[in-house]
């Protein structure tokens, strides 16, 4: 009489390793989440040496930002009408040099406000150029 001595082979993954597997998965997804690229707005700014030249040669659209107002070519503009005004002034201008918009900001303008208006200008096809106030030291004799 043949006696069957075959034992059953374990065919399941060991349950002891479940904790390790879960931990490794958590670490993996954490690393994936932290290396995800940020989302943002690309902004092409001409180098500052070129700005003065461009400004001297052409009459560009000028936007001045203050903490409470926005001034387009010297006229105070309602922020709700800003897109329409800029859109109308850029209409029909195909050349990139004609689409330059000089942005001047007062010192106390927060970034939140600045990025809002500059992104609106870019969405309307304008090319942003910054005009910064120069600080000069004058030696008084």
């Amino acid at each position: 009489m043949a006696i069957r001595h075959r034992s059953k082979l374990l065919s399941e993954p060991p349950a002891v390793a479940t904790g390790d597997i879960a931990f490794n998965l958590i670490v993996f997804f954490l690393v994936c989440a932290s290396t995800q690229p940020d989302s943002g707005r690309q902004q092409v700014l001409p180098r500052s040496e070129q700005n003065a030249q461009v400004e001297a040669e052409r009459e560009n659209l000028e936007v001045k930002l203050t903490r409470s107002a926005v001034i387009v070519n010297g006229e105070i503009t309602n922020p709700d009408q800003f897109d329409v005004q800029i859109g109308n002034r850029l209409k029909g201008k195909a050349q990139p040099e004609d689409r330059i918009v000089i942005v001047k900001s007062e010192k106390d303008v927060p970034y939140l406000r600045w990025i809002d208006f500059t992104s609106r200008i870019e969405d309307l096809g304008g090319i942003i150029t910054l005009q910064l106030e120069e600080e000069r030291e004058v030696v008084v004799p």
């Binding site: 490794n24 993996f28 940020d38 943002g40 500052s48 992104s119």
Partner: protein, 134 residues
């Protein structure tokens, strides 16, 4: 009668090799993140029509205390342009992305010279902001 002791095996279990390799891989991925500025406190501004910024080796951040950081280390604005130029080297356009993270309440007198310095260094500026809800 003496019963002989069975010698104990003291080998590292080869089954764990996969786990060890995996953990090492993650460790080096974290190390490779050279411009880690996750410890700095800032709140992003919001804007419309955002794109994915892609990967960049240069990250400039102005935190909520108005301090300027390049790749997570504090720096002065006068040194910024030169340092970015050195980091970017002779990389071609398209690979010169500079991520700019500015706290939303930062004033123009602080952030405009930073933007100018990045522009002077020939960096392709990407403002890191969050999507604006209309």
């Amino acid at each position: 009668m003496k019963i002989a002791r069975r010698p104990l095996k003291s080998e590292i279990p080869s089954m764990a090799m996969g786990d060890i390799a995996f953990n090492l891989l993650i460790f080096f991925v974290i190390l490779a993140k050279s411009q880690d500025d996750s410890h700095l406190e800032w709140a992003p501004a919001s804007a419309r029509n955002l794109q994915t910024s892609g990967q960049s080796i240069v990250s400039v951040l102005v935190d909520k205390d108005n301090r300027l950081h390049l790749n997570g280390k504090e720096i002065g604005v006068s040194d910024l342009s030169g340092r970015i130029e050195r980091l970017l080297g002779s990389r071609p356009m398209g690979e010169r992305t500079v991520l700019l993270k500015i706290h939303k309440e930062t004033l123009a007198q602080r952030f405009e010279p930073v933007i100018e310095a990045i522009s002077q260094a020939g960096g392709e500026l990407v403002h890191v902001v969050e999507e604006q809800n209309r």
